[in-house]
Protein backbone atom coordinates (compact mmCIF):
# COMPACT_ATOMS: atom_id res chain seq x y z
CA UNK A 1 0.00 0.00 0.00
CA UNK A 2 1.34 3.40 -1.03
CA UNK A 3 0.33 6.65 0.68
CA UNK A 4 0.87 10.31 -0.15
CA UNK A 5 1.40 12.41 3.00
CA UNK A 6 0.78 16.14 3.27
CA UNK A 7 1.87 18.34 6.18
CA UNK A 8 0.94 22.04 6.48
CA UNK A 9 0.19 22.62 10.16
CA UNK A 10 2.63 25.44 10.79
CA UNK A 11 5.49 27.01 8.86
CA UNK A 12 6.70 23.97 6.92
CA UNK A 13 5.16 22.47 3.81
CA UNK A 14 5.98 18.77 3.69
CA UNK A 15 4.98 16.15 1.12
CA UNK A 16 6.07 12.51 0.95
CA UNK A 17 5.22 9.11 -0.45
CA UNK A 18 5.48 6.08 1.84
CA UNK A 19 5.16 2.55 0.52
CA UNK A 20 4.69 -0.43 2.82
CA UNK A 21 6.97 -2.58 0.61
CA UNK A 22 9.55 -0.03 -0.45
CA UNK A 23 9.56 2.31 2.54
CA UNK A 24 9.89 6.03 2.04
CA UNK A 25 9.95 6.63 -1.73
CA UNK A 26 10.28 10.42 -1.82
CA UNK A 27 9.86 13.44 0.36
CA UNK A 28 10.09 17.18 -0.11
CA UNK A 29 10.14 19.91 2.49
CA UNK A 30 9.82 23.64 2.14
CA UNK A 31 10.52 25.70 5.25
CA UNK A 32 9.13 29.21 5.58
CA UNK A 33 11.45 30.00 8.45
CA UNK A 34 13.24 32.85 6.66
CA UNK A 35 9.97 34.58 5.81
CA UNK A 36 8.78 34.55 9.43
CA UNK A 37 12.18 35.38 10.96
CA UNK A 38 11.75 39.07 10.26
CA UNK A 39 8.64 39.05 12.48
CA UNK A 40 10.28 37.07 15.27
CA UNK A 41 7.71 34.29 15.00
CA UNK A 42 5.24 32.61 12.70
CA UNK A 43 2.68 34.97 11.13
CA UNK A 44 -0.30 32.65 10.55
CA UNK A 45 -1.75 34.41 7.50
CA UNK A 46 1.63 34.53 5.76
CA UNK A 47 2.09 30.84 6.52
CA UNK A 48 -1.24 29.94 4.90
CA UNK A 49 -0.47 32.06 1.85
CA UNK A 50 2.81 30.30 1.35
CA UNK A 51 1.37 26.79 1.74
CA UNK A 52 -1.04 27.33 -1.13
CA UNK A 53 1.77 28.54 -3.38
CA UNK A 54 4.07 25.63 -2.60
CA UNK A 55 1.88 22.59 -2.10
CA UNK A 56 0.73 21.58 -5.60
CA UNK A 57 4.20 21.80 -7.21
CA UNK A 58 5.60 19.73 -4.35
CA UNK A 59 2.89 17.10 -4.78
CA UNK A 60 3.83 16.76 -8.45
CA UNK A 61 7.47 16.78 -7.36
CA UNK A 62 7.34 13.76 -5.08
CA UNK A 63 5.76 11.58 -7.78
CA UNK A 64 8.55 12.59 -10.16
CA UNK A 65 11.19 11.98 -7.48
CA UNK A 66 9.73 8.56 -6.70
CA UNK A 67 9.61 7.66 -10.39
CA UNK A 68 5.88 7.10 -10.16
CA UNK A 69 3.12 8.01 -12.53
CA UNK A 70 1.23 11.01 -11.14
CA UNK A 71 -1.53 9.69 -8.89
CA UNK A 72 -0.11 6.21 -8.43
CA UNK A 73 -0.99 5.93 -4.71
CA UNK A 74 -3.60 3.99 -2.75
CA UNK A 75 -4.43 6.68 -0.24
CA UNK A 76 -3.75 10.21 0.94
CA UNK A 77 -2.92 11.33 4.48
CA UNK A 78 -3.12 14.97 5.52
CA UNK A 79 -2.45 16.71 8.82
CA UNK A 80 -5.76 17.89 10.30
CA UNK A 81 -4.47 19.28 13.62
CA UNK A 82 -3.32 20.43 16.03
CA UNK A 83 -1.87 23.57 14.46
CA UNK A 84 -2.76 26.80 12.69
CA UNK A 85 -6.26 26.41 11.31
CA UNK A 86 -5.68 28.46 8.15
CA UNK A 87 -2.48 26.60 7.35
CA UNK A 88 -3.99 23.17 8.08
CA UNK A 89 -6.97 24.02 5.87
CA UNK A 90 -4.79 24.29 2.76
CA UNK A 91 -3.20 20.85 3.06
CA UNK A 92 -6.39 19.20 4.28
CA UNK A 93 -8.61 20.65 1.53
CA UNK A 94 -6.17 19.88 -1.23
CA UNK A 95 -5.32 16.43 0.08
CA UNK A 96 -8.96 15.47 0.57
CA UNK A 97 -10.05 16.69 -2.87
CA UNK A 98 -7.13 14.97 -4.59
CA UNK A 99 -8.14 11.71 -2.93
CA UNK A 100 -11.74 12.23 -3.99
CA UNK A 101 -10.60 12.89 -7.55
CA UNK A 102 -8.33 9.87 -7.66
CA UNK A 103 -10.95 7.71 -6.00
CA UNK A 104 -8.69 6.62 -3.14
CA UNK A 105 -9.35 6.80 0.62
CA UNK A 106 -8.07 9.70 2.67
CA UNK A 107 -7.19 9.97 6.34
CA UNK A 108 -6.91 12.98 8.66
CA UNK A 109 -3.71 12.63 10.68
CA UNK A 110 -2.87 14.01 14.12
CA UNK A 111 0.34 16.02 13.79
CA UNK A 112 1.75 14.79 17.10
CA UNK A 113 1.02 11.17 16.21
CA UNK A 114 3.05 11.89 13.10
CA UNK A 115 5.97 13.14 15.21
CA UNK A 116 5.61 10.22 17.61
CA UNK A 117 5.80 7.68 14.79
CA UNK A 118 8.64 9.35 12.88
CA UNK A 119 11.25 7.00 14.44
CA UNK A 120 9.36 4.11 12.76
CA UNK A 121 10.85 5.31 9.47
CA UNK A 122 14.35 4.40 10.67
CA UNK A 123 16.07 1.14 9.89
CA UNK A 124 15.73 -0.07 13.47
CA UNK A 125 12.28 1.02 14.54
CA UNK A 126 11.13 0.74 18.15
CA UNK A 127 8.65 -1.94 19.16
CA UNK A 128 5.45 -1.48 21.14
CA UNK A 129 4.82 -0.80 23.99
CA UNK A 130 6.93 2.26 24.72
CA UNK A 131 7.09 5.61 26.45
CA UNK A 132 7.19 8.57 24.08
CA UNK A 133 8.65 11.94 24.94
CA UNK A 134 7.26 14.52 22.53
CA UNK A 135 9.33 17.69 22.62
CA UNK A 136 8.53 20.19 19.90
CA UNK A 137 7.85 23.87 19.35
CA UNK A 138 4.30 23.65 20.63
CA UNK A 139 4.23 20.52 22.78
CA UNK A 140 6.04 18.78 25.60
CA UNK A 141 4.48 15.57 26.79
CA UNK A 142 5.12 12.08 28.00
CA UNK A 143 2.89 9.43 26.51
CA UNK A 144 2.34 5.79 27.40
CA UNK A 145 2.02 4.06 24.03
CA UNK A 146 0.68 0.61 24.86
CA UNK A 147 -0.21 -0.33 21.28
CA UNK A 148 -0.55 1.43 17.91
CA UNK A 149 -2.87 4.40 18.35
CA UNK A 150 -3.35 3.79 22.10
CA UNK A 151 -2.08 6.86 23.84
CA UNK A 152 -2.27 7.73 27.53
CA UNK A 153 -0.86 11.13 28.44
CA UNK A 154 1.40 10.76 31.48
CA UNK A 155 2.44 14.38 31.73
CA UNK A 156 2.38 17.65 29.87
CA UNK A 157 3.86 21.10 30.13
CA UNK A 158 1.92 23.53 32.27
CA UNK A 159 3.31 26.54 30.42
CA UNK A 160 5.97 26.75 27.68
CA UNK A 161 6.88 23.82 25.45
CA UNK A 162 10.53 22.73 25.53
CA UNK A 163 11.19 24.03 22.00
CA UNK A 164 9.44 27.26 22.87
CA UNK A 165 11.66 27.63 25.95
CA UNK A 166 14.72 27.11 23.74
CA UNK A 167 13.45 29.68 21.23
CA UNK A 168 12.52 32.29 23.85
CA UNK A 169 15.83 31.92 25.66
CA UNK A 170 17.66 32.23 22.35
CA UNK A 171 15.74 35.42 21.65
CA UNK A 172 16.83 36.84 25.01
CA UNK A 173 20.39 36.26 23.88
CA UNK A 174 19.74 38.08 20.64
CA UNK A 175 19.76 34.98 18.42
CA UNK A 176 17.54 35.07 15.34
CA UNK A 177 14.27 33.11 15.21
CA UNK A 178 13.93 30.17 15.66
CA UNK A 179 16.88 30.16 17.97
CA UNK A 180 16.61 26.66 19.48
CA UNK A 181 19.27 24.95 17.36
CA UNK A 182 21.56 28.01 17.58
CA UNK A 183 21.20 28.18 21.34
CA UNK A 184 22.13 24.53 21.56
CA UNK A 185 25.27 25.23 19.47
CA UNK A 186 26.15 28.04 21.86
CA UNK A 187 25.59 25.72 24.80
CA UNK A 188 28.17 23.31 23.37
CA UNK A 189 30.79 26.09 23.75
CA UNK A 190 29.83 26.67 27.37
CA UNK A 191 31.24 25.21 30.57
CA UNK A 192 28.95 22.96 32.59
CA UNK A 193 28.18 24.04 36.11
CA UNK A 194 29.13 27.71 35.79
CA UNK A 195 25.44 28.48 35.88
CA UNK A 196 23.10 26.27 37.86
CA UNK A 197 19.49 26.99 37.02
CA UNK A 198 16.47 25.51 38.77
CA UNK A 199 15.30 22.10 37.51
CA UNK A 200 11.62 22.86 37.24
CA UNK A 201 9.21 20.46 38.97
CA UNK A 202 11.62 17.59 39.48
CA UNK A 203 10.92 17.50 43.18
CA UNK A 204 7.20 17.23 42.56
CA UNK A 205 5.53 13.91 41.89
CA UNK A 206 3.93 13.32 38.52
CA UNK A 207 5.24 13.84 35.06
CA UNK A 208 4.16 17.37 34.21
CA UNK A 209 6.64 20.00 33.09
CA UNK A 210 7.05 23.73 33.56
CA UNK A 211 9.66 25.86 31.87
CA UNK A 212 8.59 29.42 32.56
CA UNK A 213 10.45 29.69 35.88
CA UNK A 214 13.63 28.56 34.19
CA UNK A 215 13.14 31.20 31.53
CA UNK A 216 12.88 33.87 34.23
CA UNK A 217 16.03 32.62 35.95
CA UNK A 218 17.92 32.83 32.67
CA UNK A 219 16.60 36.33 32.01
CA UNK A 220 17.87 37.45 35.42
CA UNK A 221 21.28 35.89 34.80
CA UNK A 222 21.55 37.67 31.47
CA UNK A 223 20.59 40.99 33.07
CA UNK A 224 23.11 40.49 35.87
CA UNK A 225 26.00 39.88 33.47
CA UNK A 226 25.14 42.49 30.88
CA UNK A 227 27.55 45.38 30.49
CA UNK A 228 25.97 48.12 28.38
CA UNK A 229 23.33 45.55 27.39
CA UNK A 230 25.96 43.17 26.05
CA UNK A 231 26.88 39.85 27.61
CA UNK A 232 30.35 38.54 26.90
CA UNK A 233 30.44 35.59 24.45
CA UNK A 234 31.80 33.03 26.91
CA UNK A 235 29.32 34.02 29.60
CA UNK A 236 26.53 33.70 27.03
CA UNK A 237 27.75 30.21 26.20
CA UNK A 238 27.93 29.29 29.88
CA UNK A 239 24.38 30.55 30.44
CA UNK A 240 23.16 28.64 27.36
CA UNK A 241 24.89 25.54 28.66
CA UNK A 242 23.31 25.97 32.11
CA UNK A 243 19.88 26.40 30.51
CA UNK A 244 20.25 23.37 28.26
CA UNK A 245 21.47 21.23 31.17
CA UNK A 246 18.45 22.23 33.25
CA UNK A 247 16.03 21.34 30.45
CA UNK A 248 17.74 18.07 29.63
CA UNK A 249 18.00 16.93 33.22
CA UNK A 250 14.36 17.73 33.83
CA UNK A 251 13.33 15.80 30.75
CA UNK A 252 15.56 12.85 31.69
CA UNK A 253 14.21 12.64 35.24
CA UNK A 254 10.60 12.65 34.04
CA UNK A 255 11.37 10.09 31.34
CA UNK A 256 12.88 7.80 33.96
CA UNK A 257 9.79 8.24 36.08
CA UNK A 258 7.62 7.34 33.08
CA UNK A 259 9.66 4.21 32.29
CA UNK A 260 9.47 3.07 35.89
CA UNK A 261 5.77 3.78 36.24
CA UNK A 262 4.79 2.00 33.02
CA UNK A 263 7.38 -0.73 33.22
CA UNK A 264 8.20 -0.19 29.54
CA UNK A 265 11.76 -0.78 28.44
CA UNK A 266 11.66 1.45 25.37
CA UNK A 267 11.80 5.23 25.18
CA UNK A 268 10.97 7.05 21.94
CA UNK A 269 11.79 10.73 21.61
CA UNK A 270 10.30 12.84 18.85
CA UNK A 271 9.67 16.44 17.81
CA UNK A 272 12.13 19.21 16.98
CA UNK A 273 13.98 19.19 20.31
CA UNK A 274 14.67 15.45 19.97
CA UNK A 275 17.30 16.49 17.42
CA UNK A 276 19.31 17.96 20.30
CA UNK A 277 22.54 15.96 20.66
CA UNK A 278 23.05 16.57 24.38
CA UNK A 279 19.48 15.46 25.07
CA UNK A 280 20.07 12.25 23.12
CA UNK A 281 23.29 11.60 25.02
CA UNK A 282 21.66 12.22 28.39
CA UNK A 283 18.72 9.95 27.59
CA UNK A 284 21.05 7.20 26.38
CA UNK A 285 22.90 7.37 29.69
CA UNK A 286 19.69 7.33 31.71
CA UNK A 287 18.21 4.44 29.69
CA UNK A 288 21.37 2.42 30.04
CA UNK A 289 20.99 2.54 33.82
CA UNK A 290 17.33 1.61 33.51
CA UNK A 291 18.14 -1.23 31.09
CA UNK A 292 15.96 0.45 28.53
CA UNK A 293 16.58 1.49 24.93
CA UNK A 294 16.08 4.87 23.37
CA UNK A 295 14.92 5.53 19.78
CA UNK A 296 14.67 8.68 17.71
CA UNK A 297 14.31 9.82 14.10
CA UNK A 298 17.05 11.14 11.83
CA UNK A 299 17.41 14.91 12.48
CA UNK A 300 15.43 15.99 9.39
CA UNK A 301 12.43 13.95 10.54
CA UNK A 302 12.51 15.37 14.09
CA UNK A 303 11.01 18.65 12.87
CA UNK A 304 7.88 18.87 10.73
CA UNK A 305 7.85 16.79 7.55
CA UNK A 306 5.52 14.95 5.19
CA UNK A 307 7.12 11.54 5.70
CA UNK A 308 5.82 11.12 9.23
CA UNK A 309 2.31 12.04 8.07
CA UNK A 310 2.47 9.56 5.19
CA UNK A 311 3.60 6.84 7.62
CA UNK A 312 0.97 7.60 10.30
CA UNK A 313 -1.68 7.79 7.60
CA UNK A 314 -0.60 4.48 6.11
CA UNK A 315 -0.90 2.80 9.51
CA UNK A 316 -4.49 3.98 9.91
CA UNK A 317 -5.54 3.41 6.29
CA UNK A 318 -4.12 -0.10 6.43
CA UNK A 319 -6.31 -0.72 9.48
CA UNK A 320 -9.34 0.29 7.43
CA UNK A 321 -9.82 3.74 8.90
CA UNK A 322 -10.64 6.69 6.65
CA UNK A 323 -11.99 10.21 6.82
CA UNK A 324 -15.18 11.38 5.15
CA UNK A 325 -15.49 14.09 2.52
CA UNK A 326 -16.14 16.61 5.30
CA UNK A 327 -12.88 18.45 5.76
CA UNK A 328 -12.36 19.34 9.41
CA UNK A 329 -9.23 20.81 10.92
CA UNK A 330 -8.55 21.53 14.58
CA UNK A 331 -6.32 24.02 16.36
CA UNK A 332 -6.49 21.78 19.45
CA UNK A 333 -6.86 18.03 19.37
CA UNK A 334 -5.97 15.92 22.43
CA UNK A 335 -3.77 12.99 21.41
CA UNK A 336 -5.62 10.57 23.69
CA UNK A 337 -8.86 11.13 21.77
CA UNK A 338 -7.49 9.17 18.81
CA UNK A 339 -8.97 5.83 17.88
CA UNK A 340 -6.77 2.78 18.48
CA UNK A 341 -5.29 1.19 15.37
CA UNK A 342 -6.09 -2.48 14.86
CA UNK A 343 -3.11 -4.19 13.32
Amino acid sequence: MRVLGIESSCDETGVAIYDSEQGLMAHQLYSQVKMHAEFGGVVPELASRDHIRKLAPMIRGVFTDAGLEFGDVDGIAYTAGPGLVGALMVGASMGRSLAMGWGVPAIAVHHMEGHLLAPMLEEQPPEYPFVALLVSGGHTMLVDVSAPGCYRILGETLDDAAGEAFDKTAKMMGLPYPGGPLLSQKADQGVKGVFEFPRPMIDRPGMDFSFSGLKTAVRLAIARHAVDEVVEEQIQADIACGFQQAVIETLAIKCRRALRETGHKTLVIAGGVSANKSLRTALHAMCKKERARVFYARPEFCTDNGAMIAYAGWLRLKAGQQSSLKVEVKARWPLDELEPINV
Partner: protein, 260 residues
Protein backbone atom coordinates in the same frame (compact mmCIF):
# COMPACT_ATOMS: atom_id res chain seq x y z
CA UNK B 1 -3.36 2.09 -8.72
CA UNK B 2 -2.64 3.73 -12.06
CA UNK B 3 -4.65 6.65 -13.29
CA UNK B 4 -5.68 8.08 -16.60
CA UNK B 5 -3.16 9.64 -18.93
CA UNK B 6 -2.33 12.92 -17.29
CA UNK B 7 -0.15 14.41 -19.95
CA UNK B 8 -0.23 17.90 -18.53
CA UNK B 9 3.16 17.97 -16.82
CA UNK B 10 5.87 20.58 -16.46
CA UNK B 11 8.87 20.11 -18.76
CA UNK B 12 12.34 19.48 -17.38
CA UNK B 13 12.84 23.18 -16.68
CA UNK B 14 9.60 23.25 -14.70
CA UNK B 15 7.78 25.25 -17.40
CA UNK B 16 4.20 24.41 -18.07
CA UNK B 17 2.86 24.25 -21.59
CA UNK B 18 -0.09 26.45 -22.49
CA UNK B 19 -3.33 24.59 -22.11
CA UNK B 20 -5.02 23.68 -25.34
CA UNK B 21 -8.19 25.75 -25.43
CA UNK B 22 -11.02 23.57 -26.65
CA UNK B 23 -13.44 25.31 -29.00
CA UNK B 24 -16.43 23.48 -27.62
CA UNK B 25 -17.13 25.58 -24.54
CA UNK B 26 -20.80 24.83 -24.61
CA UNK B 27 -20.37 21.12 -24.20
CA UNK B 28 -17.48 21.21 -21.80
CA UNK B 29 -17.87 19.72 -18.34
CA UNK B 30 -17.06 22.58 -16.00
CA UNK B 31 -17.09 22.72 -12.21
CA UNK B 32 -17.29 26.16 -10.59
CA UNK B 33 -16.93 26.95 -6.90
CA UNK B 34 -17.03 30.10 -4.83
CA UNK B 35 -16.50 30.10 -1.08
CA UNK B 36 -15.14 33.61 -0.72
CA UNK B 37 -17.96 34.78 1.57
CA UNK B 38 -20.80 33.28 3.60
CA UNK B 39 -22.25 31.62 0.52
CA UNK B 40 -21.14 28.17 -0.45
CA UNK B 41 -21.77 28.34 -4.17
CA UNK B 42 -21.17 25.41 -6.52
CA UNK B 43 -22.18 24.94 -10.13
CA UNK B 44 -21.56 22.07 -12.51
CA UNK B 45 -22.10 22.28 -16.25
CA UNK B 46 -22.30 18.83 -17.76
CA UNK B 47 -23.69 17.66 -21.06
CA UNK B 48 -25.38 21.00 -21.61
CA UNK B 49 -27.19 20.98 -18.25
CA UNK B 50 -26.41 23.00 -15.13
CA UNK B 51 -26.49 21.68 -11.58
CA UNK B 52 -26.28 24.15 -8.71
CA UNK B 53 -25.81 24.28 -4.94
CA UNK B 54 -26.05 27.83 -3.60
CA UNK B 55 -26.60 28.30 0.13
CA UNK B 56 -25.53 30.64 2.89
CA UNK B 57 -23.41 28.40 5.13
CA UNK B 58 -20.92 30.60 6.96
CA UNK B 59 -17.82 28.79 8.29
CA UNK B 60 -19.05 25.46 6.95
CA UNK B 61 -17.48 25.56 3.51
CA UNK B 62 -14.79 22.98 4.15
CA UNK B 63 -17.31 20.58 5.60
CA UNK B 64 -19.94 20.78 2.87
CA UNK B 65 -17.99 21.57 -0.27
CA UNK B 66 -16.81 18.07 -1.24
CA UNK B 67 -20.02 16.24 -0.24
CA UNK B 68 -22.10 18.71 -2.27
CA UNK B 69 -19.73 18.55 -5.24
CA UNK B 70 -20.04 14.76 -5.14
CA UNK B 71 -23.81 15.05 -5.08
CA UNK B 72 -23.81 17.34 -8.13
CA UNK B 73 -21.55 14.94 -10.04
CA UNK B 74 -23.90 12.15 -9.14
CA UNK B 75 -26.92 14.11 -10.38
CA UNK B 76 -25.11 15.00 -13.58
CA UNK B 77 -24.00 11.41 -14.07
CA UNK B 78 -20.37 12.29 -14.76
CA UNK B 79 -17.11 11.51 -13.01
CA UNK B 80 -14.39 13.88 -11.86
CA UNK B 81 -12.15 12.46 -14.57
CA UNK B 82 -14.68 13.79 -17.14
CA UNK B 83 -14.02 17.41 -16.12
CA UNK B 84 -12.60 19.77 -18.73
CA UNK B 85 -12.16 22.79 -16.50
CA UNK B 86 -12.43 23.95 -12.89
CA UNK B 87 -13.44 27.57 -12.17
CA UNK B 88 -12.99 29.11 -8.75
CA UNK B 89 -13.56 32.49 -7.11
CA UNK B 90 -9.94 33.58 -6.70
CA UNK B 91 -10.85 36.53 -4.48
CA UNK B 92 -10.87 39.08 -3.14
CA UNK B 93 -12.86 37.76 -0.20
CA UNK B 94 -12.40 35.92 3.08
CA UNK B 95 -8.76 34.77 3.14
CA UNK B 96 -9.58 31.29 4.38
CA UNK B 97 -12.59 31.02 2.09
CA UNK B 98 -10.54 31.96 -0.95
CA UNK B 99 -7.92 29.38 -0.01
CA UNK B 100 -10.48 26.63 0.52
CA UNK B 101 -11.79 27.25 -3.00
CA UNK B 102 -8.26 27.41 -4.41
CA UNK B 103 -7.12 24.23 -2.62
CA UNK B 104 -10.18 22.27 -3.69
CA UNK B 105 -10.00 23.61 -7.26
CA UNK B 106 -6.32 22.64 -7.45
CA UNK B 107 -6.89 19.24 -5.90
CA UNK B 108 -9.76 18.32 -8.19
CA UNK B 109 -8.03 19.69 -11.29
CA UNK B 110 -4.79 17.86 -10.47
CA UNK B 111 -6.76 14.63 -10.17
CA UNK B 112 -8.81 15.28 -13.29
CA UNK B 113 -5.78 16.43 -15.29
CA UNK B 114 -7.60 19.58 -16.36
CA UNK B 115 -6.79 23.29 -16.08
CA UNK B 116 -8.19 25.88 -13.70
CA UNK B 117 -9.67 29.30 -14.35
CA UNK B 118 -9.32 31.70 -11.39
CA UNK B 119 -12.13 34.24 -11.68
CA UNK B 120 -12.37 37.58 -9.92
CA UNK B 121 -15.17 37.72 -7.36
CA UNK B 122 -15.68 41.42 -8.16
CA UNK B 123 -15.97 40.75 -11.88
CA UNK B 124 -18.31 37.85 -11.24
CA UNK B 125 -20.71 40.06 -9.27
CA UNK B 126 -20.46 42.71 -12.01
CA UNK B 127 -21.33 40.03 -14.56
CA UNK B 128 -24.45 39.12 -12.58
CA UNK B 129 -25.49 42.79 -12.87
CA UNK B 130 -24.59 42.89 -16.56
CA UNK B 131 -26.90 39.94 -17.18
CA UNK B 132 -29.68 42.14 -15.76
CA UNK B 133 -28.86 44.89 -18.25
CA UNK B 134 -26.47 47.09 -16.26
CA UNK B 135 -23.87 48.99 -18.34
CA UNK B 136 -21.93 50.99 -15.74
CA UNK B 137 -21.29 48.89 -12.65
CA UNK B 138 -19.66 49.61 -9.30
CA UNK B 139 -18.97 46.55 -7.18
CA UNK B 140 -18.22 46.79 -3.46
CA UNK B 141 -17.66 43.69 -1.35
CA UNK B 142 -17.44 43.94 2.43
CA UNK B 143 -13.76 43.53 3.34
CA UNK B 144 -14.41 44.02 7.10
CA UNK B 145 -12.26 46.43 9.14
CA UNK B 146 -14.34 49.27 7.63
CA UNK B 147 -12.99 48.59 4.16
CA UNK B 148 -14.36 47.45 0.81
CA UNK B 149 -13.01 45.40 -2.00
CA UNK B 150 -13.96 47.75 -4.80
CA UNK B 151 -13.91 47.88 -8.58
CA UNK B 152 -15.70 49.72 -11.37
CA UNK B 153 -16.71 48.10 -14.65
CA UNK B 154 -18.16 49.08 -18.00
CA UNK B 155 -20.10 46.99 -20.44
CA UNK B 156 -19.52 47.94 -24.05
CA UNK B 157 -21.00 46.67 -27.28
CA UNK B 158 -22.85 43.42 -27.28
CA UNK B 159 -20.49 41.58 -24.92
CA UNK B 160 -21.60 40.90 -21.39
CA UNK B 161 -18.03 40.85 -20.08
CA UNK B 162 -17.52 43.59 -17.47
CA UNK B 163 -14.41 45.53 -18.41
CA UNK B 164 -12.37 46.72 -15.46
CA UNK B 165 -11.74 50.46 -15.11
CA UNK B 166 -8.50 51.21 -13.25
CA UNK B 167 -7.95 48.31 -10.89
CA UNK B 168 -9.39 46.22 -8.08
CA UNK B 169 -8.72 47.86 -4.73
CA UNK B 170 -9.16 47.41 -1.00
CA UNK B 171 -9.95 50.72 0.63
CA UNK B 172 -12.16 52.57 3.09
CA UNK B 173 -15.14 53.71 0.99
CA UNK B 174 -14.47 57.33 2.02
CA UNK B 175 -11.38 57.23 -0.20
CA UNK B 176 -13.39 56.69 -3.37
CA UNK B 177 -13.02 59.87 -5.41
CA UNK B 178 -14.96 59.05 -8.57
CA UNK B 179 -18.55 60.15 -9.10
CA UNK B 180 -20.96 57.56 -10.38
CA UNK B 181 -22.97 58.22 -13.51
CA UNK B 182 -26.70 58.61 -13.21
CA UNK B 183 -27.29 55.14 -14.62
CA UNK B 184 -24.55 53.39 -12.61
CA UNK B 185 -25.65 50.14 -11.01
CA UNK B 186 -24.33 49.39 -7.52
CA UNK B 187 -23.85 45.81 -6.49
CA UNK B 188 -22.04 43.75 -3.88
CA UNK B 189 -22.71 43.40 -0.15
CA UNK B 190 -20.40 46.35 0.57
CA UNK B 191 -23.29 48.72 -0.07
CA UNK B 192 -25.16 47.19 2.86
CA UNK B 193 -22.40 48.14 5.32
CA UNK B 194 -22.44 51.36 7.33
CA UNK B 195 -18.84 52.38 6.64
CA UNK B 196 -18.51 56.15 6.10
CA UNK B 197 -19.03 57.16 2.45
CA UNK B 198 -17.41 60.00 0.52
CA UNK B 199 -19.59 63.06 -0.12
CA UNK B 200 -20.45 62.32 -3.75
CA UNK B 201 -21.79 58.89 -2.72
CA UNK B 202 -23.39 59.95 0.57
CA UNK B 203 -25.55 62.40 -1.35
CA UNK B 204 -26.93 59.71 -3.61
CA UNK B 205 -29.65 57.30 -2.78
CA UNK B 206 -28.03 54.04 -3.57
CA UNK B 207 -30.17 51.01 -3.95
CA UNK B 208 -28.06 47.95 -4.42
CA UNK B 209 -29.92 44.80 -5.39
CA UNK B 210 -29.45 42.40 -2.45
CA UNK B 211 -29.67 39.50 -4.87
CA UNK B 212 -26.46 40.74 -6.50
CA UNK B 213 -24.62 40.87 -3.19
CA UNK B 214 -22.15 38.03 -3.59
CA UNK B 215 -20.64 35.93 -6.38
CA UNK B 216 -22.71 33.08 -7.78
CA UNK B 217 -20.73 30.07 -9.00
CA UNK B 218 -23.04 29.58 -11.99
CA UNK B 219 -22.54 33.18 -13.11
CA UNK B 220 -18.77 32.81 -12.66
CA UNK B 221 -18.94 29.72 -14.84
CA UNK B 222 -20.89 31.55 -17.57
CA UNK B 223 -18.50 34.50 -17.37
CA UNK B 224 -15.50 32.25 -17.80
CA UNK B 225 -17.00 30.59 -20.84
CA UNK B 226 -17.40 34.02 -22.44
CA UNK B 227 -13.95 35.19 -21.33
CA UNK B 228 -12.39 32.15 -22.99
CA UNK B 229 -14.45 32.18 -26.18
CA UNK B 230 -14.70 35.95 -26.78
CA UNK B 231 -11.59 37.32 -25.17
CA UNK B 232 -9.27 34.40 -25.71
CA UNK B 233 -8.41 34.30 -22.01
CA UNK B 234 -6.60 31.16 -20.95
CA UNK B 235 -7.05 28.76 -18.09
CA UNK B 236 -3.91 27.95 -16.11
CA UNK B 237 -2.27 24.84 -14.69
CA UNK B 238 -3.70 23.86 -11.27
CA UNK B 239 -0.53 24.91 -9.46
CA UNK B 240 -0.84 28.39 -10.92
CA UNK B 241 -4.38 28.85 -9.64
CA UNK B 242 -3.44 31.16 -6.77
CA UNK B 243 -5.69 33.43 -4.69
CA UNK B 244 -5.78 37.20 -5.07
CA UNK B 245 -6.23 38.81 -1.67
CA UNK B 246 -5.79 42.54 -2.46
CA UNK B 247 -5.21 43.09 1.26
CA UNK B 248 -1.55 42.41 1.79
CA UNK B 249 -1.01 44.05 5.13
CA UNK B 250 -1.51 40.99 7.31
CA UNK B 251 1.21 41.27 9.92
CA UNK B 252 -0.28 43.85 12.26
CA UNK B 253 -0.81 41.28 14.97
CA UNK B 254 2.73 40.00 14.98
CA UNK B 255 5.19 42.87 15.01
CA UNK B 256 8.59 42.02 16.42
CA UNK B 257 8.31 42.81 20.08
CA UNK B 258 11.27 44.94 21.04
CA UNK B 259 13.08 43.73 24.09
CA UNK B 260 10.98 40.62 24.62
Amino acid sequence: MAHTGLSYEPDLCGRLPAFPTPARYLVMNILSIDTTADLCSIALDAGGNSFVFHESRPREHAKILLPEITRLFHEAGIKIQDLDLVVFGRGPGSFTGVRIAASVAQGIALAAGCPVFPVSTLQSVAFSAAKNGARSIWVALDARMSEWYFARYNISGSSLVPELIDQEQVLPPAQISQTPESETTFCGNGWATDYPLPEQLAERTISADPLLGLPHALHSLELVKILMSEKGEQAVAPEQAIPVYLRDKVTWDNKPKVGS
